[in-house]
Amino acid sequence: MIRLENVTKVYARGARPAVDAVSMEIERGEFVFLVGASGSGKSTLLRLMLREERPTSGKILVAGKDLSTLSNWKVPALRRQIGAVFQDFRLLPNKTVFENVAFALQVIGKPRHHIATVVPDTLEMVGLGGKEKRRPHELSGGEQQRVAIARAFVNRPPILLCDEPTGNLDPTTSLGIMRLLDRINRTGTTVVMATHDDEIVDQMRKRVLELATGELIRDQHRGVYGSTR
């Protein structure tokens, strides 16, 4: 589903590479943790997969598309195959929960009747049934992140990229979010999650890819967070 071949990303000329000659392969339906200290290149890797950045060298394949040769006008089609969740939720404050999720479908031109059925289903699935009319500031952090996940998943993308989705949440709430991501993973969605949260990683026992100063230093199935924290 996602394959990186010797990918290097240098932001400023002469600077240390943010991602240094990383190769990895993530299969369809996998759940993968990207771990590593701040600045180890986790976020850059996710940005490369979303094609928000282009690699300085190397080849990236996502959902069957070669991102190094993908032309600009095909980027939207790629992003419709990828859901993205962030630490800071990125909700629209002046829209309701329903509108926030529906927005993702409206802007890619989905018909109204489709939106009217899919959005409530998705909200039910993430555990926000009955809160459609609330606005983001009326929700707890965990609920806001559920809205964000609903928005990322409402178009049923085959890939879900999460950049520290539990970074702003307390451990109990984080656990709820992890259960939700696990459920999404069980529907066949490939989930890649960058995180600092050792407890979660140790509990979930999924594949762990560890980065340090831009290099991939560990690829462990049913792994734990590790000692390099």
């Binding site: 600009n72 939207p76 409206q106 802007v107 890619i108």
Partner: protein, 304 residues
Amino acid sequence: MRAQFILSEIGIGLRRNLSMTVSVILVTFISLTFVGAAGLLQLQVSKLKDDWYGKVEVSAFLCPTGSAKAQCAAGEASEEQIADIEALLDSPELAPQIEQVYFETKAEAYASFQEYFAGMEWAEMIREEDLQASFRIKLVDAENYQVVSDVLSGRPGIESVEDQRKIFDTLFLVLNRASVMTVGLAALMLLAAVLLITTTIRLSALSRRRETGIMRLVGASNLFIQLPFMLEGAIAATIGALASVAGLWLGVRYLITDWLAQEVVWVPLVQESDVLALAPLLLGVAVLLAAISSLVTLNRYMKV
């Protein structure tokens, strides 16, 4: 779904930047009014040319009694001199240039003079002897005045040759300069309009960065993301253009049709229909301005 969504986005954008939107409307209104005024001036010039050049005549005034000119030393133009001039006008040199020749006697000159200035006190003091007989020569092409003038000038019996075009040319020069100045002002205002539209779109894009960020993330197409901004600029500019058409129409209506045309009946003046003929041009300029501004801004501020 799409159209409705885009429309509501545009509405939000226009309301959020209301003061900028209003200034875009005003600036395009003023600049396009200048453009339109220049257009109307040019139309007026060509109307006058059409009308007047058709009527223009070269007048060869014959010597009156007591003229100081050398070719009039023999006193009033004699019958022979007049016959000579007629022969000259019929010569192969001039004949092809001339459409029609009309000889105006002193009596006729006096009659038309009195008719034209009927009721004026000073006109009554003019006697028939004070006026000159003349050949009124209508040319095939008014531009060839010089040829005819060169042949006739200085002939015995002809005091002077006058081309009426000369009188108009000064007027046309004034009108042309006025339209050049108007176009210059219009160009400056158009530049201001482009800069303002650019700024407006940029502000609008900045104030909706959060939305557009999410749109990009979930895979909305560039066109879909950029269209509301482009249409915002285009709508504001179009309203400005419509306002300028309305302004010009009212201006022509009250200044020209209702006032000038009543006072000055002897020249064809621009009419409201001329403003309407200019309207598509003005709208086109407005849309073009908005399109250029949006392309420049959006390419710079809203990359994929």
